[in-house]
């Protein structure tokens, strides 16, 4: 390798070009940008941390351009998490190249790139390629491509915080380890927004480059203005869904004067509801109101994104599908409906407006229940202090390791010992045991325990000890199934002419009879028929009754630990009688006073347990403030442990603050009894026993089976022979469970499902933390303001003879009368 190209002399001419370019734009290099450029020139790797819209891209881009602009060949790989971002990124990077007078090209290489362009990129490589983790993996399946990538000078990973914490992050780690092994002089750079564990982010991204890799901070001067739309009357009894669309007038008034508004909701169903409400309130907005959520067909979504760029849309009602994204510079304001659930998320959403440096980001928050006022107030303080959530990295996903090993076996092959060392340079597999390694290697070569896998072959070892995959058909299958994003089994919605509208979950459509109507994508559709995974719909003839709004599973994320802690501090301040000037806290004060009068406003070092009776039975309310998933898991755990002593039918209803345990007859427990129930001892054992983990693991197996290459994805134009190779993941799970129960993928599936469905790590931390908290048992004469939302959630989800709405209304009235006394 030519070392001189790696440490270019900063000749006078080049910085002059840089100075000229910056001055024509009216920019001044920021300190962190200069720091990054100097570090790059010195051959270093690093992570650049700066908020969105502060010139992060230039900080990472100028270094490589100055250093290698006059070289031939592919020099830089720019990895972005969203392929929708690729086109915008290419434009802004090309702008930099042009501005610095480098006559080279930046091109995209994603799933959208045509094969002719891909072929041209091979023979006439551009200066830089913008790609996604999946496309990078795909390039590594090709030996020629891999050779080209081994001449890279730098890889830049954009929005690394988005990848960290997911299997795509691990996929990126593995690919980077590969590139570093191919080219010991390769520089790794990353860009990240603020997260709680930035140094982990740096260490994990840089892998073997971490020891002398840098952390560069941009100064965070972004101003965020956050205002809460205050309901006129805060009902004393907060109940989710109770406020919300009542405030539609105020929302319309906010949207009216602004050029472009993004209205964020937390779930896809909420998006549909708000879209309908807005349309009803302002029918004349029909052409300038759009909707964006992940179940809407991609083409439709891209159209909406384009309209946002052009500024031809007034308001987009959306979910986290628009959290990330294109530089929507015309966005003037952001409205957040309901709890943001996390500080990082609110910050990111707020940042979608006032995107340019120096501009102010504006976010208006709309509570859907009274307690969310506390969350908004807490989030504002945490945001100002930049107390942001951490991202927990994924560790040891063997399905992905298997996929990666096949990738490398295709792209030139590997030696086992060298590959093990390479894989162990990643954070994800640093602790990979020899046994796990051998198992994974066997999985892709001979299958597993020898007697169970006759005639299996995939990766073979040649006489020089190199693992390769030579079978052309298998190679094609593998290339089609690269990646880690596996959609849920969803029913595709189509019109009779075949136009795709998007997708909904199978169970939703199963509940609708042909001829009935439902709302999707902001319009009412009549279901014609369902065949397999395709539902055909049509525009209903006449004005039929209001449609049902689809609801999607798993679309609610729990309150983050950081926001929960911030809420806890707010409550403590109230309890201690400290002044709190925030308008939200003043508004919510009467509710908290009622809570204090009837029970207690808990402090972070207490665990409040309320017990009360109604004519239905007995209720216990625990408030660990640990997020919906953990609170639910705690409830399930308590029910299981209680049931071991005596048979007991117990209903568990969680929300982000606490959990209700409801039964005809609940055993009376003292502090010691609760201590035993909440013990972290035997946690895993009890949880596995309480939730039928095998069944959960079976449901989750689809993703793992796909990633590990056990299910062939239906590639377009796939040969008919593929038909005999199709199967369901549930069936695969059964076959493994019966004939190879030691298969490590089964255990991985159970582990992942515990983590995703009950936030297992946080559950374990919560239980340990609860040991330090004082249990406060209070018998309350009636439901308290904290308890009521939990009670209401259960009532509104249970089907009885009486209309749940009537039951709710009656209870609400009784409680409000009591509170007024």
């Amino acid at each position: 390798m030519d070392q001189s190209t790696l440490l270019p002399s900063m000749s006078d001419k080049v910085p002059a070009a840089l100075r000229r370019w910056f001055s024509t734009r009216g920019w001044k290099p920021l300190a962190f940008q200069r720091e990054a450029w100097t570090a790059y020139a010195a051959g270093k790797s690093g992570l650049i941390h700066a908020p969105t819209g502060l010139g992060k891209t230039l900080a990472a881009w100028v270094g490589p351009v100055l250093a290698h602009g006059d070289e031939e060949g592919l020099r830089v790989l720019w990895v972005t998490p969203l392929r929708a971002l690729a086109a915008d990124t290419v434009r802004s990077l090309q702008d930099g190249l042009d501005g610095l007078g480098v006559r080279r090209k930046v091109e995209a290489r994603t799933g959208d790139t045509s094969s002719s362009v891909r072929a041209r990129q091979k023979t006439k490589p551009p200066f830089a390629l913008v790609t996604t983790p999946e496309s990078l993996s795909l390039m590594l399946t090709n030996a020629e491509r891999t050779a080209q990538l081994s001449c890279l000078r730098a890889v830049v990973v954009d929005e690394w915080h988005e990848l960290l914490g997911s299997k795509r992050g691990v996929q990126t780690e593995l690919c980077l380890a590969r590139l570093c092994a191919l080219n010991p002089a390769l520089r790794i750079w990353g860009l990240s927004a603020t997260i709680g564990n930035l140094d982990d982010a740096r260490r994990i991204l840089l892998g073997s480059r971490a020891p002398d890799g840098l952390m560069i901070h941009g100064k965070d001067t972004k101003r965020i203005e956050m205002e809460t739309l205050m309901p006129e009357n805060v009902e004393s009894f907060p109940w989710s869904g109770h406020l919300g669309t009542k405030l539609i007038r105020a929302v319309v008034d906010r949207i009216e004067p602004a050029r472009t508004t993004l209205l964020f909701t937390n779930t896809r169903s909420q998006t549909e509801i708000w879209f309908q409400e807005l349309l009803e309130a302002r029918p004349q907005w029909a052409d300038v109101l759009a909707m964006h959520h992940s179940s809407i067909d991609r083409a439709e979504r891209e159209f909406t994104e384009q309209r946002l760029r052009d500024g031809t849309v007034k308001c987009v009602v959306c979910t986290s599908s628009l959290d990330l994204g294109v530089d929507f510079s015309p966005v003037e304001q952001v409205i957040q409906v309901g709890s943001p659930k996390g500080i990082a998320r609110l910050l990111q959403r707020a940042g979608r407006s006032g995107h340019r440096p120096g501009e102010v980001s504006r976010v208006f928050c709309l509570p859907t229940n009274a307690l969310e006022l506390i969350e908004f107030s807490a989030a504002r303080e945490a945001m100002a202090a930049r107390r942001i959530e951490s991202r927990r990295p994924v560790v040891k996903p063997l399905d992905l390791l298997a996929q990666h090993l096949v990738t490398v076996a295709l792209g030139g092959g590997f030696r086992a010992d060298e590959m093990l060392a390479e894989v162990r340079t990643t954070n994800a597999f640093a602790a990979l045991t020899d046994d796990e390694w051998r198992w994974t290697l066997t999985f892709i070569t001979t299958g597993g325990a020898l007697h169970a896998y006759p005639q299996y072959r995939k990766v073979t070892v040649d006489e020089e000890g190199i693992h390769r995959l030579t079978d052309k058909v298998m190679a094609r299958h593998h290339r089609f199934s690269i990646g880690t994003i596996v959609a849920d089994a969803a029913v595709s919605l189509r019109l009779k002419n075949g136009r795709r509208l998007g997708s909904v979950e199978e169970w939703f459509i199963a509940g609708i009879r042909p001829g009935r109507c439902f709302i999707f994508g902001g319009r009412t559709w009549e279901l014609v028929r369902v065949h397999g995974l395709v539902a055909t719909v049509q525009v209903p003839d006449k004005k039929k009754a209001r449609g049902e709004i689809p609801s999607w599973q798993g679309s609610k994320s729990p309150l983050s630990s950081e926001l929960a802690a911030a809420v806890g501090e707010k409550l403590q301040r109230f309890r201690d009688g400290a002044r709190d000037a925030s308008p939200e806290m003043q508004k919510v004060a009467p509710i908290l006073s009622t809570q204090a009068k009837w029970s207690l406003v808990p402090r972070p070092d207490e665990l409040l347990i309320e017990r009360t009776s109604t004519r239905d039975g007995q209720h216990c309310y625990l408030y660990p403030f640990a997020g919906r998933l953990v609170n639910g898991a705690l409830g399930t755990l308590i029910a299981y442990r209680l049931g071991k002593g005596q048979p007991l039918t117990l209903r568990v209803t969680p929300n982000d603050y606490g959990v209700e345990l409801f039964s005809r007859e609940l055993p009376l427990l003292d502090e010691r009894g609760w201590g035993i129930l909440l013990s972290p001892d035997n946690l895993l054992e009890d949880i596995l026993a309480s939730v039928n983990a095998a069944e959960l693991g079976r449901h989750h197996f689809r993703e793992i089976a796909r990633v590990a290459g056990l299910i062939l994805s239906g590639a377009p134009g796939s040969p008919p022979t593929l038909k005999s190779l199709q199967t369901s993941s549930g069936l695969l799970w059964d076959v493994f469970a019966r004939y190879d129960p030691g298969n490590l993928l089964l255990a991985q599936s159970q582990r992942e499902v515990l983590e995703r469905q009950m936030d297992y790590n946080r559950l374990s931390e919560t239980l340990h933390a609860l040991q330090q908290r004082r249990v406060v048992l209070i018998n309350t004469p009636r439901l308290t303001p904290l308890a009521f939302p939990l009670w209401a959630d259960r009532i509104s989800h249970s089907v009885g003879k009486e209309d749940p709405a009537d039951v709710l209304a009656r209870m609400l009235e009784e409680l409000e009368t009591a509170a007024a006394r």
């Binding site: 892709i444 005639q455 058909v473």
Partner: protein, 220 residues
Amino acid sequence: MTELRFHEHTLHLMPEGAAWDAAQRVLFVTDLHLGKAAVFREAGLTLPDGADAAILQRLSVLAGRLGACTLAVLGDVFHARSPGTERTVAALNTWRQTHAGLRWIIVPGNHDRRVPWAQWLPDAEILSEGELCGPWQLAHHPPEQSDAVMLCGHLHPGIAFGPPRQRKARLPCFWLRRGVLILPAFGGFTGLRLIEREPGDRVWVTVQDRVAEVPHTRRA
């Protein structure tokens, strides 16, 4: 075990997912899909062996207990004609030697229509769709309706149970529709397809080792 009467003929639905004609001593099964895992392995999909052996074991037990003279398979004995299946064929023929008295009747299905039967399973009787076996018409693909009683396979019929709007348990079932009785798949690695039930159809599932009829209360 549930008895089904068609005129003067009786058929028993067995909890194992087979049908039994006691008068003729014929055991009817369908969709074994032998060698399926091997076909997957050949294609580079890491699937363990064992399902085939389990199918043959279940057949041994059932045929032995009932004292069957004839085994009639309504198609898809094999999952595919491929090199990987040859080992399965050998295993099956070894099994057939230990059950030498059992006569085999096969109506080839869509998965195994290209199988060289004379070579793979010498002395198995190969029927074409719609041929008679005693009073019963046999076919792999179920027709829309039938005047004489017809026994078929192919569909892997199943129904879903559970509370509305939630994930449901799926069970294989027997499905009688306009004179056509469709048997559940006998193979262990076969999956199922939910049926679209119409008024007048009858459906049975295996619950706790007995066959129970599912009343037609739920909407189709």
